[in-house]
């Protein structure tokens, strides 16, 4: 109980953190506070319930505000919820909403708007890509059963007790519930507007949001323009008047427009890799890099020979010289990875495996021995295809890794690249030996990363299945004490470091080009930059 008390107190304390642009006194602001930010792709929708990934959630967090939000550095802070507390040993959570939260039409945001939005999202008929999230990530009661069609959406464990109190009932106690609620799909939904306009409710003429900005114009494949929402409860602290988001998926085109001063902040990852050297020379201070909660790895298909043999998996993993990849091939802030979970995950401390402390020469030596033990040697080469999606960077890495493998034995790799959707199809069918994989966190807690290798995880592509591992993960998820939970996550990482279902290679970095006059952004490990935190200084 002691730690539960701490959680609630911490939560209360968090709400006093900054939640808007904090302009230091004496700063001279630019006359027009218009900002243009790249988005990487055209969002599939502006309906929070239908969010598919980053291109959509980048926008839903500007147009809407969830129960909780993130400050510029990614710390969870109150959003519409002012405070929260847990009861019954972490199984029931009560969120108190601020009374001054308003929709952009001036009407109040109520707990019922959240209840409606969440129940709409889990309804299988609504067919949301993230319908599983409340059940699987947040562990809300009946969340999964509803998605599977076994219960009606009305049975979801989210209930508005009154206009300002929202109650969550969970399947099992989850200490990090609040962290999961920052997701871009978990927004209140204006029921009246949705019922009046149906699928057309997200049109600029119809949409009603509760975020710091409201939609004013949308041209598919060109731009999305938002202006500040005067009804936003914290509008007084917003500095940016107009936010334009450009869906440019060609990085060099985006960079060209950035250089022409038509873009202030490029999309996340919006640093064309082939121009990095030139950027470092010309505008080194604008190249903004910080660690990201994400990992790049090669998955071994443990169902096929010879990757059912842990010696082969271990040998191939050891033989990869991560530092060459991060420092020579990528060199944009990535860090070498030996585990799935990045050390920057909230409340997590990465462990160092024995082999991590060795030099590459020592690892290579062991890899050689392992391959020989597994029966590979002169006359019996280890031959397999390496699958990746078509991309110059992936190709460079694959070539480098293939040559590293060649050094430790008769390893003959055939590089197979496929266009994205084809690649996904091949990988989902399990029609590969070794494949490129990557995972980016949905929320800032280790479970979002490490859960991937759980036998029941939908994206466990390598079909790795270790009951001992599942047990540790299942236990960790319901462990309320943060220190104990972290130890369990570390145990899980130790199991991965014995079984090698994948060779982790590097932890991603957030990469953006940011003009020197843009201020107020932080280092959110999930890469989110929200315009309500930004301001433009005189230039």
């Amino acid at each position: 109980m002691r730690y539960l008390f701490t959680i609630s107190v911490a939560a209360l304390a968090l709400t006093f953190n900054c939640q808007a642009a904090e302009v230091p006194p004496g700063t001279k602001l630019h006359a027009t506070q218009h900002i243009v930010i790249g988005n990487g792709a055209e969002p599939a929708t502006l309906d929070p319930g239908r969010v598919q990934g980053r291109p959509e959630s980048n926008l839903t967090v500007e147009l809407f505000e969830g129960l909780v939000s993130q400050d510029a550095n990614g710390k969870v802070i109150g959003g519409v919820a002012e405070k929260w507390e847990s009861k019954e040993g972490g199984k029931v959570w009560l969120f108190t909403l601020r009374k001054n939260a308003k929709w952009s039409d001036g009407s109040p945001v109520t707990a019922g708007d959240f209840e409606y939005g969440f129940k709409r999202m889990v309804d299988p008929k609504f067919a949301s890509d993230y319908s599983w999230y409340l059940g699987k990530a947040s562990n809300v009661i009946n969340g999964t059963a509803i998605v599977e069609g076994k219960k009606p959406p009305s049975e979801l464990g989210v209930k508005a007790l009154n206009d300002t109190t929202l109650q969550f009932t969970l399947e099992k106690p989850v200490a990090y519930l609040v962290s999961t609620l920052i997701h871009g799909s978990l927004m209140p939904i204006p029921r009246k507007v949705v019922e009046k306009f149906g699928d057309k409710w997200t049109d600029p003429a119809n949409i009603v949001g509760n975020g710091p900005f409201k939609l004013s114009e949308r041209v598919v494949n060109e731009r999305i323009v938002m202006v500040r929402n005067p009804h936003y409860w914290n509008n007084a602290k917003t500095v940016i008047e107009q936010l334009t988001v450009l869906p440019i998926n060609n990085q060099s085109a985006e960079y060209q427009r950035y250089r022409a001063n038509a873009i202030d902040v490029t999309a996340d990852g919006g640093v064309p890799s082939e121009q990095v050297a030139q950027i470092r020379k010309e505008v080194p201070n604008e190249l903004t890099l910080w660690p990201q909660l994400g990992t790049y790895y090669y998955t071994f298909n443990v169902k096929v020979k010879p990757f059912d043999d842990v010696r082969v998996r271990r040998a191939l993993s050891l033989a990869i010289n991560r530092d060459v990849i991060t420092q020579q091939i990528l060199s944009t802030g990535e860090t070498s990875a030996y585990s799935m979970t990045p050390g920057i995950a909230d409340g997590y401390k990465a462990i160092r495996h024995d082999w991590e402390a060795q030099t590459q020469a020592q690892r290579d030596l062991e890899a050689k021995k392992l391959l020989a033990d597994a029966g590979y040697g002169p006359g019996k080469p280890l031959k397999f295809p390496l699958l990746y999606n078509t991309n110059e960077q992936h190709k460079k890495i694959a070539l480098a890794v293939a040559s590293m493998w060649k050094r430790v034995g008769p390893v003959e790799v055939e590089l197979v690249n496929q266009e994205w959707k084809t690649f996904l199809d091949t990988r989902n069918r399990g029609d590969y030996a070794v494949t490129r994989g990557a995972w980016i966190a949905d929320y800032n807690e280790a479970s979002t990363m490490i859960d991937l290798f759980h036998s029941k995880h939908g994206s466990n592509d390598g079909k790795y299945n270790n009951p001992a591992y599942d047990e540790v993960i299942d236990k960790a998820k319901i462990t309320l004490d943060p220190a104990e939970r972290m130890k369990l996550y570390q145990d899980a990482e130790r199991i991965l470091a014995q079984d090698f279902p994948a060779a982790f290679m590097y932890h991603y970095s957030n990469r953006r080009m940011i003009k020197p006059w843009v201020k107020g952004y932080g280092k959110n490990p999930q890469g989110r930059i929200q315009a309500r935190d930004l301001y433009i200084i005189a230039h």
Partner: protein
Amino acid sequence: MLRFILRRIFLEAIPTLLVLVTVTFFLIRLAPGGPFSSEMNVPPEVKAAIEAKYRMDQSLSMQYLSYLADLAQGDLGPSFKYKDFTVNELVNKAVPVSFKLGIVAFIIALIFGVGAGVAAALKQNSWIDYSVMGVAMVGVVLPNFVLAPMLALVFAVWLKVLPAGGWEGGQFTFMILPVAVLCKHYISVIARITRGSMIEVLGSPFIRTARAKGLPMHYILRRHALKPALLPVVSYLGPAFVGIITGSVVVETFFGIPGIGQLFINGALNRDYSMVLGLTILIGTLMITFNAIVDILYGFIDPRIRIK
């Protein structure tokens, strides 16, 4: 004339389109990976619900028939990727953009292409001819994905006189670079075709007769030479016009222009079946229409092939 049009529509256009729709419908479904495959595997129940929503739970033949039924009413269906829009809405917004860009580029290409071609033909083997043909050769060879960033670098980044991208409803300054890139190829091709056929026409007996009669050269050109010399150009113009107005994937993607080209490429990459089908039908229809227009134009230019 009416008989010609009716024959064109019922005996040629509709059957051709039907074949086109059928082939595209099945071909895109043969491509590996579907519109809803993503890195994050959704639970099977949700996948089933998504598929039911887009009628993908039905048999392929049923899907095909219901698509044709909707198509007959002009309904291209919901976009599989852009959930907030139907294909009709997206295409209706993109068509005027690509048309505006395309028509401007087409007119410029036509004027400069024919002009340069005629000039080169008149001064055959002179420095004018060589420079026109040299530039035209570069124009054909230089790919748009090289020219577009080059022009943006010079005019937007270095000189800062033009925007590096965007459309802004088709404002003049936003059109200059995309139009320049888009018409480059067509100017070159038209100039080459015009030059070739003009040289041939100028060498033919009826032009020699006209010159022998002492007619001034500009009169001969206008009155006798231009029309027959343009015949091969006209036959090229039909498909070229469709190509230019239905958008260039490269130009639209690089300059961020919200036209058909971007819809098409994203549609194909996202496996947005209804979008790809809708645009294929649109482009197919335009192709058939403009080929018919070219056939009619032929008759005006050359009475020998006038339609009966």
